[in-house]
Amino acid sequence: MTGRRSIALLSALAFGYAFLYLPIVILIIYSFNDSRLVTVWSHASLRWYAALLENTQMLEAAWLSLRIAAVSATLSAALGTAAAFALQRLKPFFAQRGYEALALMPLIVPEVLIGLSMLLLFVVLGDTIGWPERGATTITLAHASFGMAYATVVIRARLTQLDPALDEAAAILGATPWRTFRRVTLPLLAPAIAAGWLLSFTLSLDDVVVASFVTGPGATTLPIVVFSSVRLGVSPQINALATAIVVLVSILIVTATLMTRAGRRA
């Protein structure tokens, strides 16, 4: 009985993991396919990767995406750290609940709603105070805003695990709150802040819906380029690009996870 059940469970697991990974694995394999037809295998080559390196539109979009992701992730991490502290210290209860609801709202609200509401905000702001101009700035602000929610969750989880005795010890030894924060709390939080930064960075790098709403003329991020070419059909060059992105993002995520785990152990 036990044997039969564990076989059933093992096959459920195997099926689940195959389902999760097969599409990506096949995509990666076919990115090395020489044929112009995506579905017919001719022989292995790097020709689509070479084509990618010559595609200036793609490269420019990738560079813009990286810059936007770096700036918005930095904003997200800073705001997320602050919000995590605010949530821990905020009293009374209803103020904390309200703040929490506002800070974590982007986690559950569909992307189309975030995109639409952000664009309307920028349109109204533009009409009343003449700022910001739609483009890289507005994408960065929108990304920072939803990245902050994810950063808050990650950093707060770590903050609640910190021993308050460490802060108290520093204070008793005569450290000012700012000094305590900089020399004790911040180093202890660093892995979580780094993980929050990396998560926001990846989310920004992947976002197409919000960026499509808030972008203006001249600011085309990589996902927007990918999305518009994918809508026209499958192309081997996109397979190569997708592989590059999957590899890059996987490295970032594994790093982020290892960092959080190392931090938890410290």
Partner: protein, 300 residues
């Protein structure tokens, strides 16, 4: 000491002030503006909606709001169909996700301590790799001359290629695939903390495995099931990329209708009214989720 406390208070004020201001400006204000635009009327021009307040002759501005956009939404069969099929597709996909996720979560919860972390990581990893690209990966597989059809024809299972891409089936598949980790994790969290001696007790008392599962394990894991179900259902409701890439022209989903209304028809008030209604459904579902999670905290 009092000086230190004062400085601490200052720092706290800066932290609270900055983040509260940011949240007001970039989370609360946008929502209020969406509500305002949903109450205005479309027009040709920049921006393509009438101002909600205009400065009249008196001291107070005149309010020009109308619920015309909401009336349009609730009286047009297209929008109603979009609501119905969004709910149907999201619920259906969430159910299929549950059927795949539950055995996975169960198997991971019963795995050895050492294997568990790795198995969990393997579930989470694909979630963080590009959403757009994972959806795109399916277009290559589901195409008429795609890998699935080619393989089935070569194996002699079918003689004519099946229409898989641009169907509601493909949308279900895309949602199940993309949101599977959201279902596995909460169910796993409950099962992992469950008291397994209860299962042994049921078996000692003579219950067969299936009966033990349906009478003991499943009821105990319901909070996780409920949480996972909503974590798939809520984002699926407003999904845009999956129905756009995998769905057919007749696959109506709210996110997609909203997008079309906004970008193609440029009817911003109607798009905003749809957004407000979608937001209400999402917030209501989220409230249920919070309640379910709190019940779980109490239970454990």
């Amino acid at each position: 000491m009092s000086m230190a406390a004062g400085a601490g208070k200052g720092l706290r004020r800066v932290i609270l002030g900055t983040t509260t201001l940011w949240l007001m400006a970039f989370t609360l204000l946008p929502v209020l503006i969406v509500v305002a635009v949903s109450l205005s009327e479309p027009r040709l021009g920049q921006p393509p909606f009438t101002p909600l307040f205009t400065q009249g002759e008196g001291l107070w501005p005149t309010f020009n709001g109308s619920i015309a956009s909401y009336l349009t939404v609730v009286s047009d069969s297209l929008y109603i169909a979009a609501f119905v099929s969004s709910l149907r597709i999201a619920a259906g996909s969430a159910f299929i996700t549950l059927l795949i996720a539950y055995p996975m979560a169960y198997a991971i919860a019963r795995a050895s301590d050492r294997a568990r972390l790795g198995l969990l990581m393997l579930v989470i990893l694909p979630f963080w790799t590009s959403f757009l690209i994972r959806t795109y990966a399916w277009t290559g597989l589901l195409n008429t001359n795609g890998l699935i059809n080619n393989t089935l024809i070569k194996l002699g299972v079918i003689s004519e290629p099946l229409t898989l891409l641009h169907t509601e089936f493909a949308v279900h598949l895309g949602i199940v695939y993309s949101y599977l980790p959201f279902m596995v994790l909460p169910i796993y969290a409950v099962l992992e903390r469950m008291d397994w001696s209860l299962i042994e007790a049921a078996q000692d008392l003579g219950a067969r495995p299936l009966k033990t599962f349906f009478r003991v394990t499943l009821p105990l894991s319901l909070p996780g099931v409920f949480a996972g179900w909503l974590l798939v259902f809520i984002p699926a409701l407003g999904e845009f990329i999956i129905p756009d890439l995998l769905g057919g022209p007749d696959t109506l989903m709210l996110g997609r209708v909203l997008w079309t209304e906004f970008f193609n028809n440029r009817d911003w008030p109607v798009a905003s009214a749809l957004a407000v209604l979608l937001l209400l459904i999402v917030l209501l579902s989220a409230l249920l989720l919070v309640k379910a999670l709190r019940r779980r905290e109490v239970a454990s």
